[in-house]
């Protein structure tokens, strides 16, 4: 049955008021939308990161559902352990309810330090949903580069200097890596439209076995973004094809959105301070061109995998 936003408004939130995330941060938006339409009881685990530290400052706790955090690189292993205990205790009749398991990690805890634990959990086939709130860098430690950071971004460990224009490398494609695990559900999306995350995560959680959802979610401090532009910047990420939205269900690729027009990636870069150095001078222009080439190539790849063609309006 289709999910209706108006039915969800009165629903009790899994994460409640009083957390200390920044105004405009994408992470709490991801969490709220992700868990809003889930009908079963949920147990949440999270990798170390902004979300975890800002929601569980002792003796307070913003979570209305059971919550476990233990370390940075092990959210995949933690969710495996919880699910393993559930399966064992349910078999013995010590637990009777159906419970679902969700792990949250930033891109640091997911693309980088936690990739092995996530890969292991996916390969073993535990029944869980892993949601990466991907702000494209290490924000809990202060805007360092990660393997999710886009080319040209100014970060605190790949700063835009006199010789080097920010991060040189392009990010790894974690969504494709997770799809290559041949798990039943993989999605890449962002918070440009609330129903996107609500519906996709509901589907992910209801799918038996491992599911992975990669959600682009801005960090206003790192992206140097006006907090009110959270949704607008995510829309631009989709419109410029910087962040294609798609699902891979049992190996079948399905494109979520095709922009009507060819919008240059520069439109996505402009509102963000982390790309400001690229908007002036020849070096910056060359980086933008290289970034556009990467975007076009990735878009072509996604179109091909989805069996789609794209004919933008002139």
């Amino acid at each position: 049955m289709a999910v209706k936003l108006k039915d969800l408004i009165t629903k009790e939130r899994a994460m409640r008021q009083g957390h200390r995330m920044c105004p405009g941060c994408g992470a709490p938006t991801v969490v709220q939308q992700a868990l809003l339409a889930v009908e079963q009881p949920v147990v949440v685990t999270a990798a170390t990161g902004c979300l975890e530290v800002s929601t569980t400052i002792y003796p307070y706790n913003a979570w209305g559902v059971p919550f476990l955090h233990s370390a940075f690189e092990n959210a995949g292993a933690s969710v495996s352990g919880i699910e393993a205990a559930y399966v064992a205790l349910k078999k013995k009749g010590k637990i009777t309810k159906d419970i679902k398991f969700v792990a949250f990690g930033g891109d640091g805890g997911t693309y980088d330090i936690g990739l092995q634990a996530l890969s292991g959990a996916a390969e073993r086939g535990h029944d869980f949903t892993y949601i990466c709130y991907n702000n494209q860098g290490y924000m809990n430690t202060g805007a360092q580069r990660s393997s999710a950071t886009p080319k040209g971004a100014d970060t605190s460990t790949a700063p835009a200097g006199k010789v080097i224009p920010g991060k040189i490398q392009k990010p790894k494609d974690l969504t494709v890596i997770m799809a290559a695990h041949h798990i039943p559900y993989v999605a890449q999306t962002t918070i440009h439209n609330p129903m996107e995350v609500i519906e996709k995560v509901k589907k992910a959680i209801e799918t038996p076995g491992p599911a992975f959802v990669n959600v682009l979610a801005p960090c206003v401090l790192f992206w140097r973004l006006e907090p009110s532009l959270q949704r607008d910047i995510c829309k631009l990420a989709v419109e410029t094809r910087f962040w294609p939205v798609y699902e891979v269900i049992d190996g079948e690729w399905k494109l979520g959105y095709k922009p009507k027009k060819r919008v240059p990636v520069e439109e996505f870069l402009k509102p963000q301070g982390r790309f400001r150095h690229l908007l002036k001078g020849e070096t910056g222009q060359a980086v933008i061109e290289a970034l556009q080439k990467d975007v076009d190539e990735e878009w072509e790849y996604v179109l091909k995998r989805c069996g789609e063609t794209w004919e933008p309006q002139a």
């Binding site: 352990g81 064992a88 205790l89 292991g120």
Partner: protein
């Protein structure tokens, strides 16, 4: 009815695990503990246990999954050695702080480099401040018995701490010797069912594990762990006492061998106590009043029992199977500290032996005893069985 069989230290652990029938085992193979998950996975494959076996992709994930399962309310066990233990290090203090009663078969092996698969205690000694209970075993029988007792100690409401059950890699883990096994039902009635406090899976009473506690609360939380450790020795004695009544096998926190009237005592841990006790017998035949004190419970350190055993001696030799590079060896430090606190000054020699699996022979033990007998005392660290 109990039964006797010839088995290895590793298989004794696996057999104890079969009888305990834990809810979750998450493990990753590493020499010399590999036999434990291997044998246990046969039990799983043959349907002899109800355990959910999680064959993880690293030791870090093994202990992370164990911790998550334990706080979820499951009874949880695992095993590892050396580099595997070192890779798990980050999670050990977290498991202790979450009061997760994991029982861990630790098969002692030296830490690299050079890479070496044989026994010393450098792996577990590196974890001595992680908040876990440490019990060191001399032989396969003791390893088997201790695994069973450890479940009760770990899960006791006054304790709720994880336990390392240590045995010497290859020397004990791969040595086949007679072990008396309890009846399955006897084991299950001894350990009972786990009754978890604040399980994560109690959906109706949600709890959060893993809060951020800064300058305002961290210290108080650590103080509670100190308090839990203070309860361990009492609970240990209760559990070991009950176990002795059932099986006739008694395991005090320290094992004293002819120490009552001894002038010279060797303090040692784990399998090397065999050679030490044998040497005690031979030297006693020659008229030397010598004895051996084996430390079984190392964390919390049973200072009173140690002092009681040593206080009448004229000199002691402390043998460590691990070095603390740049400082006195770990067991030696503990022994000196316990005696100092008791206001007792006994001349003590410190020896490091058996690193990287170097054999410890009765003649090595005799060398140390003869230093005591000949009053060849010095605070300088000495080495047994080393070419220099």
């Amino acid at each position: 009815m109990s039964r006797k069989d010839i088995t290895s230290g590793n298989w004794a652990v696996a057999e104890a695990m079969r009888q305990i029938n834990p809810d979750v085992v998450a493990a990753y193979p590493i020499t010399p503990s590999t036999d434990i998950p291997m044998k246990f996975s046969e039990f799983v494959a043959d349907g002899l246990v109800d355990t959910n076996l999680v064959t993880v992709e690293s030791e870090h994930s093994a202990i992370s999954a164990c911790l998550a399962a334990a706080v979820s309310g499951a009874r949880v066990m695992t095993a590892s050695s050396a580099n595997g233990v070192a890779l798990m290090h980050e999670i050990f203090p977290i498991a202790a702080s979450y009061r997760a009663p994991i029982v861990f078969g630790l098969v002692n092996r030296s830490l690299g480099a050079p890479i070496n698969i044989h026994c010393d205690h450098s792996d577990s000694m590196a974890e001595r401040d992680s908040g876990w209970i440490h019990i060191y075993c001399e032989d396969g029988q003791e390893v088997y018995d201790t695994m069973i007792m450890a479940v009760r100690i770990a899960e006791h409401k006054d304790v709720l701490l994880p336990v390392f059950v240590c045995q010497d890699g290859f020397i004990t883990s791969h040595c086949f010797e007679p072990v008396e096994f309890m009846d399955d039902e006897e084991v299950r009635s001894f350990i009972g069912e786990r009754d978890p406090l604040f399980p994560l899976l109690d959906i109706d009473n949600p709890v959060a594990y893993g809060s951020l506690a800064l300058t305002d609360y961290y210290f108080e939380i650590k103080r509670q762990q100190v308090e839990a450790m203070k309860h361990v020795e009492r609970v240990y004695r209760e559990v070991a006492g009950e176990f002795a009544k059932k099986t006739g096998r008694d395991y005090p926190v320290v094992d004293t061998y002819k120490t009552d009237d001894a002038d010279h005592i060797m303090v040692i841990m784990s399998s090397a106590a065999g050679a030490a006790k044998d040497t005690v017998d031979r030297l006693r035949e020659k008229g030397h009043k010598v004895g051996c004190l084996r430390i079984r419970l190392f964390r919390p350190f049973p200072a009173k029992a140690v002092v009681d055993a040593l206080k009448g001696a004229k000199s002691i030799a402390v043998l460590d199977r691990a070095a603390s590079l740049g400082a006195p060896a770990p067991l030696f430090t503990e022994i000196k500290g316990a005696l100092y606190d008791a206001g007792i000054h006994i001349p003590a020699n410190t020896y490091v032996y058996g690193l990287g699996g170097r054999d410890f022979f009765p003649h090595n033990a005799e060398e140390a005893f003869m230093d005591l007998i000949n009053n060849n005392m010095s605070p300088e660290e000495r080495y047994l069985g080393l070419r220099e």
